[in-house]
């Protein structure tokens, strides 16, 4: 993968993310979030993790973004309120960014291109999920079931 493609995806992703963080209309922010996730999925593709990329698009764009816009719809009364921006948050975020960058450049990281490895097939992932990672898989299954029931209970009408 060339640096050009990398920078193209990076600019796309970061721009979408920044837009998601700063657009005043909530619905635009949510749609930009979906775009940013597509960008991240492109990163996964470029890193050779196609399955994760597809899962990312599937789950975030197909499910989470839809959930978010639905929630926006259900809480619509507020969505056109005037923009309130806390600059303290921006300062903290910037400081964290600076700290992270400093830490990245201070730590000894392997340089150069990624080592050449055989592409990761879906079958391999499936086998890993069913052997070494079967317990985490079951736990995640339980967690998702719990989240499903919890979410339904939370938004259920309190009136009988």
């Amino acid at each position: 993968m060339s640096t050009v493609a990398f920078f193209a995806i990076a600019i796309f992703t970061l721009a979408a993310a920044l837009a998601a963080a700063s657009f005043s209309k909530l619905i635009h922010a949510a749609l930009c979030l979906a775009l940013a996730f597509i960008g991240i999925a492109a990163f996964y593709f470029s890193l050779g993790a196609e399955f994760v990329g597809l899962a990312q698009v599937f789950i975030y764009v197909g499910a989470v973004a839809v959930l978010i816009v639905f929630t926006i719809l259900l809480t619509r009364r507020e969505s056109d309120a005037p923009v309130q921006f806390k600059w303290s948050g921006a300062v903290v975020a910037l400081a964290v960014f600076a700290g992270l960058i400093w830490a990245i450049f201070k730590s000894p990281l392997p340089g150069g291109a990624a080592p050449a490895v055989a592409p990761l097939t879906v079958k391999q992932i499936g086998e890993s999920l069913m052997t070494s990672y079967v317990w985490p898989l079951q736990c995640v299954g339980l967690l998702l079931t719990g989240a499903l029931i919890g979410a339904v209970v939370l938004v259920m009408d309190e009136k009988p």
């Binding site: 640096t3 909530l26 949510a30 991240i40 399955f51 926006i72 990624a114 939370l154």
Partner: protein
């Protein structure tokens, strides 16, 4: 930074920087907006940044028989989905109660 821009293929550092930037943008969204849904959007971005790191370290680290980084990213995506579902359900429940989604007004827990 100069040698970064010069490299013909992106290195681990490239991805880490992008991930750090994404993380900070997520933090920005979570910290500086008053609408509860922005916070959730920010948190989703934080998780995505972490996932990007996992994948990058898996790709650039020493080859291992188990695709650990990919697995953790997958589980993390699943957990993020659960988090989004519950979080948004909470937003709706809170909205029904307070008739607002401005987090500055949820102050019942003020010490």
């Amino acid at each position: 930074m100069n040698d970064l821009a010069m490299a013909t293929t992106p290195t681990l550092t490239h991805f880490l920087v992008i991930s750090a930037a994404l993380f900070s943008i997520g933090l920005l969204a979570a910290l500086s907006r008053r609408h509860a849904i922005y916070i959730l959007i920010g948190v989703e971005m934080l998780l995505a940044a972490a996932n990007l790191n996992f994948i990058a370290f898996w790709r650039y680290g020493a080859p291992s028989p188990q695709p650990t980084g990919v697995m953790i990213a997958l589980f993390s995506i699943a957990i993020a989905a659960a988090e989004a579902a519950v979080g948004l359900a909470l937003v709706i429940a809170v909205y029904r109660h307070y008739r607002t989604t401005n987090v500055d007004q949820f102050t019942s827990m003020k010490g």
